[in-house]
Symmetry: C2
Subunit: 424 residues, 2 copies
């Protein structure tokens, strides 16, 4: 399968990187994904790719017209040019992979039917939720379900600002400024903080979930500029946090779709999705509630979603090459690390007599086995004369831990077998 | 596509239900999934299906031998019989969908290569994590990534027991008894509480994540019987919770795979996965950390995963029928519920003069608009003579809320425009 890539900005350059790295692995699975052409606006942007031997062009039309190219990857962004390119590609029977949510929200009703007429796929895993495979989950993983509701944290900029306001007691203006300094918000942040980006993505998700076209221009949108530090403080008093949510719900023959700040009770799965993380929470008729969370933006997460779409296309073009299960063979057995080689933090619970020098004996055994103590709690238990000693170790080796505990349990002062639990 | 179903217990009966309900919808997408035969051990179990006109048999071999059946759905459970059935089905070139993790963990190294030789698929979304589409996520959604680590809460029984111990301060024995009373633990709970079921699923996930066979009999397994209420209390003092985790990690040429109780810091995504919920946490090279959570067991969640596998097979057998995007057409536009029709709980923030009767005026306006107050906080703000009134309403209608706030803002005593935030 030969692909043409339009755009080598952040996402596009990541796509090239992943393809270069993954090509041997994919080839072993019978999937050939080759870059047949790269397009960018300027020769400067193209120079490093030209140097590596790729066919390059500043004309997208030229890349699309190349008859050896079967798939166009559009990662340039914008509205009108990508619309023109994708239309042309589909008219020529080429499949399309795009990360452009704005384009699909605005022109999807035109591009998807065109694709169907031309028996082409338009895949867009990267357009919503970055690298979280949420499109695939809705379109393939949940085909045995009807999605009743969906709530999503789908704009990392807004979630970062609201998280910082909540955790550091910042004002909206200060949190925005900090987000800009860290590169999580653009110099002109309107598109994000007014909820427009979230509306694009919510419209796409609501469309997929409902099987109808949800026009992003018709859904209610309130951004986060009206959320004050005071609101966040009061929300905490009600055991809630405030997040910008995209919401979808079936309401008989109507669709309820809207984007606005929401108070979320702190025991809800969405309330602990903080910082730039994205998350999609779904309620399905058969499965009940489910949540998927991860990086919603960034070069490599988004590029990895484009790569997943490319592998999916390569499989389907090659007569649906099966998903590999052959490594399940006997001769392909993994070499397992012995648990004794594990290095992690440990929790110990020791029960000892309340006598002088016990702790000294224990700590010297630990020291001998190179086990450092991170924290320790000592408490008298109900049973008089007995003491509970709880230790958290620093990273230690399992074999040493076992040897140390055996020695500790052999001490006269230790009255019960000690318990050990590993840390994640 | 005609399928034969072996087993009509909890999951099998759910599969039939979903197929009956979803058939028209699937047909509209060009996917025909018909039940060509149902097998169970006894005529009693089969009677309701016979009454509904299905071909039934107490002989699995008969269903498998039916030349009109292309796919065998094995939802009977057990080891040796399903092994025999699936072997026979694959030898006859039939695809297999199974929910049987124990079978795949034990005999996958024999069944998957047999499937490959016969150009057949063995799909098993229902075998791990019930209805969470985690197999599909790993096999298709994350093909642009390498999975570096995986930690999963994959046994609902154990997670329920540990959650109850933590939240209600129960002993292990009491929590187990309660889980049994609620049907979350079997009469003989050994398989779950000793971590064997978790080891089956962890072995499958580790195999998929590593591309090598991870033998479940070789991985370290500690169950939860040794976790005491005291340990959970101490863990809380260290701001941790205790969960039974299946862990996988790449360690150079070795694989680290193990199942045991773990202390998890409370700010980790996995720590808030409580009750019978399952979750799979992944760390990937490109995507970074991601989590998927939902119902890990139960009739309809598990059956919905079987249904997703059937749709996937039907698509691939029909020359990879494209995923439908046609409803994206203009004429297929959703009817959106106007935001004024929304009914939810609201947060109001009002700023008023500190004068007599203000609250009375406000509450009477709210009453007129049928808005009930759930909670109220009144505080003097720094500015002397000003008061912040924060209200949480019960479920109210957006149009009434807007009208009420307009009237409130028109009051002389109200000094700043009031703020409103909706609840999730």
């Amino acid at each position: 399968m030969r692909i043409g890539i339009i755009g080598v900005g952040t996402v596009g350059s990541g796509v090239v990187e992943i393809i270069e790295k993954k090509q041997p692995e994919w080839k072993a699975l019978g999937l050939t994904i080759e870059i047949g052409g790269i397009c960018a606006r300027t020769d400067e942007e193209l120079a490093p790719y030209l140097a590596r031997g790729y066919r390059v062009s500043t004309s997208a039309d030229e890349v699309i017209a190349d008859s050896s190219v079967q798939v166009i990857v559009e990662v340039a962004g914008g509205y009108e040019l990508p619309r023109k390119w994708i239309t042309k590609a589909l008219e020529q029977g080429k499949h399309v992979v795009t990360a452009n949510k704005a384009l699909l929200a605005k022109y999807g009703h035109e591009l998807f039917p065109l694709a169907t007429r031309n028996k082409c796929h338009v895949l867009f895993e990267a357009a919503v939720g970055g690298g979280i495979p949420i499109i695939r989950t809705i379109q393939e993983g949940l085909t045995g379900n009807q999605i009743e509701r969906l709530s999503c944290i789908i704009n990392g900029t807004c979630n970062y600002i609201l998280t910082q306001m909540s955790q550091l007691d910042l004002s909206f203006a200060d949190a925005l400024q900090e987000a800009q300094a860290k590169g999580y918000a653009e110099a002109d942040p309107t598109f994000d903080i007014e909820g427009i980006d979230a509306a694009h993505k919510t419209a796409l998700l609501a469309s997929l979930a409902s099987g109808t076209r949800v026009d992003f221009q018709k859904i209610h949108v309130t951004g986060i500029t009206g959320v004050s530090a005071q609101d966040i403080e009061y929300a905490k008093e009600f055991d809630c946090s405030i997040k910008l949510l995209g919401n979808f719900r079936r309401m008989g023959k109507q669709i309820d779709a809207r984007v606005h700040p929401c108070l979320i009770p702190n025991d809800h799965l969405l309330s602990s999705v903080n910082g730039v993380l994205n998350a999609v929470y779904l309620e399905c008729d058969n499965l009940g509630p489910t949540l998927q969370t991860g990086a919603g933006a960034g070069k490599m997460p988004t590029a990895s979603a484009v790569a997943a779409d490319l592998v999916s296309l390569a499989r389907s073009l090659g007569g649906r090459a099966p998903i590999p299960m052959d490594w399940f063979r006997e001769e392909n057995c993994a070499s397992l690390m012995p648990i004794d080689n594990l290095e992690t933090r440990y929790y110990f619970h020791l029960t000892t007599k309340d006598s002088c020098g016990v702790l000294a004996s224990i700590t010297s055994i630990l020291a001998k086995h190179k086990i450092s103590i991170e924290s320790i709690i000592q408490k008298n238990v109900k049973d008089p004369g007995k003491v509970s000693i709880v230790l958290i170790t620093e990273k230690s080796l399992e074999s040493e831990v076992k040897a140390a505990l055996a020695e500790i349990d052999a001490l006269d002062a230790v009255t019960e077998a000690s318990r050990m639990i590993r840390f994640l």
